[in-house]
């Protein structure tokens, strides 16, 4: 358990380090242009899909997740963000067998940490907050315990529907590759608020959150997005 925590921490700090590199690189690009440009009056709404999820679904065959995003630009380089998706997990071990499915929704804000280089500059590096809700449905679980002296026992645990709530700290960047088309990533530290709902049997994977048995989860998304401006 401690090794898992260390691995998660390692991954989180690596992500922060990589983010800092991105910060530094952006600062280098703008070093010749020291004039801060005011935010344009244009509004932007952007829809996107996390393209890393289909890849990860192929890597981890026992879990699946699909994620989408929607954000809207507010004054002072703040973005109102809504994210959602669905997924689940299949646990098919010798001693434990069940499936879980869930949908989720997250809402929050991102705040750009960069000044614009020119009026149509929509690239940004951000930190943000989210509140997430997942509606999780677990099937009946079949378990087996193995005892070297008394032999195996088997049984089942009735399926359950629960709602899980969590909070997130986010950071990341977005780059406009072509006019209106963005790519970028978000790293997330997630903190489960409703730990008690998973006490009986936490799902192996909750789409939008991560491992149900962890009270803290680290994750990332890689988005492709399209922006509409007016």
């Amino acid at each position: 358990m401690e090794m898992q925590t260390h691995r998660s921490m390692y991954r989180f700090f690596c992500s922060i380090l990589l983010l800092a590199i991105g910060f530094w690189a952006r600062a280098q690009e703008g070093s010749n242009d020291t004039v801060a440009v005011a935010r344009p009056d244009a509004k932007q709404i952007r829809v996107g899909i996390d393209i890393s999820r289909p890849v990860l679904n192929q890597v981890f065959r026992n879990r699946r997740s699909y994620e989408f995003s929607l954000d809207y630009s507010l004054p002072k380089d703040i973005y109102l963000v809504a994210e959602g998706g669905f997924g689940g997990s299949d646990v098919a071990y010798e001693d434990l067998r069940y499936t879980s499915n869930n949908s989720f929704f997250r809402a929050g804000i991102d705040k750009s940490m960069l000044q614009r280089l020119f009026p149509s500059d929509w690239d940004y590096l951000f930190v943000g907050l989210r509140y997430g809700v997942g509606l999780v449905e677990r099937s009946d679980a079949v378990y087996t315990t193995v005892d070297p002296v008394w032999g195996s026992t088997s049984g089942s645990i009735e399926g359950k529907k629960v709602s899980a709530h969590w909070a997130e700290l986010t950071a990341g960047l977005r780059v406009e590759l072509l006019k209106g088309f963005f790519a970028g990533y978000t790293v997330r530290a997630k903190f489960l608020i409703t730990q008690s709902v998973f006490r009986e049997l936490p799902p192996a994977y909750v789409a939008g959150y991560g491992k149900g048995e962890k009270t803290t989860s680290f994750d990332f998304n890689f988005y492709l997005q399209y922006a509409l401006r007016w």
Binding site: D95, T144, W150, L201
Partner: protein, 159 residues
């Protein structure tokens, strides 16, 4: 430059995730044991470990013999997850055919360890009964058998 860095970042993160395993290894015991200690009275108020010469505990209903090293006073005994009691025969010296029977009565609780380790049973001891060929008395010290090693032994067996 920014695009290149973006590509590198994504590659790094993907590599980190790709190293993750399908099922995490189970890093905790999957069975819990009742911890018993053989004791003896030394004087009126003092007790000490009673090192048994060549102890054997026999799980009567499964027929499994649990051997312990000579001159041992601490014993880990598995309770029966199929029933609300577990019956053991204690042979203090395997060279001598003389036994005591000890029956532990308890309540079982199914307990989730983790997705890596699955489920196990915890037990709440209710009562202990025993014969008195070698045993003088049995003291129930801690009734929660839950794998927590930082608690006192569950029973003291005075011989």
């Amino acid at each position: 430059m920014t695009k290149l860095i973006l590509l590198i970042l994504v590659s790094c993160v993907m590599c980190m995730v790709a190293c993750e395993q399908e099922r995490d290894p189970c890093l905790q015991p999957q069975n819990v044991y009742l911890r018993a200690r053989s004791m003896k009275n030394v004087g009126d108020t003092t007790i000490a470990d009673s090192l048994l010469p060549a102890p054997r505990w026999i799980a009567v209903d499964s027929g499994v013999v649990i051997l312990f090293a000579p001159k041992t006073a601490a014993f880990n005994l598995p309770l029966n997850p199929h029933a609300d009691s577990a019956r053991f025969s204690l042979q203090p010296d395997s060279a001598v055919l003389s036994f005591d029977t000890v029956v532990f009565f308890y309540e079982r609780q199914l307990h989730f360890l983790s997705n890596a380790c699955g489920f196990t049973y915890y037990f709440s001891l209710q009562n202990v009964r025993f014969t008195q060929h070698h045993i003088d008395s049995v003291l129930l010290k801690n009734d929660e058998v839950n794998g927590n090693a930082n608690t006192p032994e569950h029973v003291q067996v005075f011989l």
